[in-house]
């Protein structure tokens, strides 16, 4: 049964970039910072592509943000997604607003499955997927993972970790929770959020990048979607965490032992 899958691709600071807070605490320094697709969303795109390769269907990638967010949509199209939707919004975003806008995209596209990263690595909130599921009255399976390791045969074969039921009416999702691994079955349409160990995302190929340029990328104005765009999570001030002072280097285990035993008294 072919699946119509909606995935998200948020534009975020490259996790390898050094993040510094502006002196007035009103934001972060963006000079010299690179941007890329949220790594958790890359995993979502990869999972959607594997499901499409297995079952057929269509992968639609959505991003919410300024015009530069089109870059992240193109990156997902280059990986193999079919078409993109950019919800243009230049103001601050929070999970309340994001999920309201995604709910509108859902109503327009009526996908069978929505896959999102479990969190974006800028605000680290881990909320949008759950909010979206609640708004739409759908079941949710957060923190989707794989039982097998990322070195396993299943991963080498690029098998999807999210399994579509034989009747095509639900998906089974393995989740990492405290103390073990849980499996949920969620009726379609459903919302799934991805954890790190679900898959290893593919790199875009050169032909993929060329093809992506010709794929459809539709723009919607956030203001025209009838959603309250005022953020409910208001960042008042940013600061840098107290830095830890690295201490002494010890010469050998004997000295380390003495420090731990006599000075720090932790062993």
């Amino acid at each position: 049964m072919p699946l119509k899958i909606l995935v998200t691709a948020k534009r975020v600071e490259d996790p390898e970039s050094k993040i510094k807070v502006k002196p007035d605490g009103a934001g972060i320094v963006t000079d010299g910072v690179n941007y890329k697709m949220n790594p958790f969303d890359e995993i979502a795109v990869e999972e959607a592509l594997r499901l499409k390769e297995r079952h057929g269907g269509e992968v639609i990638v959505a991003s919410i943000g300024g015009e530069k967010s089109a870059t992240e949509i193109r990156a997902a199209l280059a990986m193999g997604a079919d078409r993109g939707i950019l919800v243009r919004h230049d103001g601050p975003l929070d999970p309340v607003v994001v999920s309201a806008l995604l709910a509108k995209v859902f109503e327009l596209e009526k996908p069978d499955l929505v896959i999102l990263g479990k969190q974006s690595i800028d605000d680290d909130q881990n909320q949008a997927g759950q909010y979206l599921a609640a708004r739409l009255g759908l079941g949710q399976a957060t923190f989707a993972s794989k039982i097998e390791s990322l070195e396993s045969e299943a991963e080498q074969k690029k098998e999807p970790g999210v399994k579509l039921a034989a009747d095509g009416k639900s998906v089974a999702v393995v989740r990492e929770v405290d103390g073990g691994v849980e499996t949920l079955e969620v009726s379609l349409p459903a919302v799934v959020t991805t954890d790190l160990r679900l898959n290893k995302p593919r790199f875009a190929s050169l032909p993929g990048i060329m093809k992506a340029k010709k794929k459809e990328l539709k723009e919607l104005a956030a203001a025209a979607l009838g959603v309250d765009l005022a953020p409910k999570v208001v960042v008042k001030k940013l600061s840098e965490p107290p830095s830890r002072k690295g201490g002494v280097k010890v010469q050998d285990v004997e000295e380390l032992w003495k420090k731990l035993h006599d000075e720090a008294k932790v062993v």
Partner: protein, 320 residues
């Protein structure tokens, strides 16, 4: 309506320790708002757990029903929404565990509330509570305000003390009006990962290994067992399939703050540091003298972990 509702977490008939830290956070918010603290616990056959929780001096609302047997967010959320309204909660919180992080955003959405995740502490003045929380993998601290009548939050357990028992609260039955047949989520199994070692997030000492182990965690585990410590790992070690997923310490894994953290063969990527830099004493053992981990370790030893760890374990054994 300025009351505070803390959602307790129970597993196998016991209260999860993280809940006690969330209760501390709830007491703090209730003092600020001048409201009353309420506790909610959901599940099937949870009478003894509710009784245990009543020792923390707050009214315990026990939602005991077959439909709540498993921690399905879809089934739990509407019960909590109804309860939050009934007790006139202005703040709804829980510990930022897998359970809390799955469930509370769904509750927030249904309450049309804004939410703050992994809260480290509270700011603001009087009843105007703001939330201090990490962003960008803990490289930035943010103070956020929630501009909704009801405010939802999860707290990082290591940042709040475990609540002490005080007083005796009443236990009342919470209303459960969830139609099991209408649920779109079904619980299809649970595989418990059992360990004789202490729980990673609760251990007094953590010994963690990374790429430098080359997949051989024996010296890491041996030292951990000598110290009665939990074993942790860097993302590199987990991704390589050397150790189970739930050993991962870091921004995307578990956040720990033990009294002693021993990082063996871990270079110290930003995302790993985010998960352990709250530890009281950090020891780094690494062959590479330029490894970033040495910049924040209290005690750094440039050495081969395969020699240094067994030697340290031997010293411990002899010191007894």
């Amino acid at each position: 309506m300025a009351n505070v509702l803390i959602v307790a977490e129970q597993f196998g008939g016991a209260v999860r320790k993280a809940t006690l830290h969330a209760i501390s956070a709830g007491r703090e918010v209730a003092r600020r708002t001048g409201g009353t603290l309420h506790l909610a616990v959901l599940g099937k056959g949870i009478g003894p757990v509710a009784e245990e929780l009543s020792g923390y001096g707050a009214e315990v609302h026990a939602a005991d029903a077959a439909v709540l047997e498993h921690p399905l967010a879809e089934a739990h959320a509407p019960v909590l929404v109804e309860l939050a309204r009934a007790v006139q909660a202005s703040h709804v919180g829980a510990a930022a565990t897998a359970f809390g992080k799955d469930l509370l955003p769904r509750v927030a959405a249904l309450l049309e509330a804004g939410m703050a995740t992994e809260v480290l502490g509270f700011g603001g003045e009087g009843a105007e509570v703001t939330f201090r929380r990490p962003m960008w993998a803990g490289n930035v601290l943010a103070e956020v305000a929630l501009a909704t009548p009801v405010k939802v939050f999860t707290v990082r357990a290591t940042e709040f003390p475990a609540a002490a028992k005080e007083g005796k609260g009443a236990v009342t039955a919470a209303k459960v009006s969830v139609d099991a047949g209408a649920l779109r989520t079904r619980y299809a199994g649970f595989k418990e990962v059992k360990s004789a070692r202490p729980e990673l997030t609760e251990a007094r000492i953590v010994v963690a290994g990374g790429r430098g182990t080359k997949g051989d965690f024996k010296p890491v585990e041996a030292l951990a067992d000598e110290l009665n410590a939990a074993v942790g790992a860097s993302r590199a070690a987990v991704d390589a399939g050397w150790v189970p997923n739930d050993w991962q310490v870091g921004q995307t894994g578990k956040v720990v703050a033990p009294e002693l953290y021993v990082a063996a063969g871990i270079s110290g990527a930003i995302q790993h540091l985010a998960g352990m830099k709250g530890s009281k004493v950090i020891v780094a053992v690494n062959k590479d003298p330029d490894a970033p981990i040495f910049q924040l370790a209290d005690y750094g030893l440039v050495a081969d972990l395969f020699k240094a760890l067994p030697e340290l374990a031997e010293k411990l054994k002899k010191s007894r």
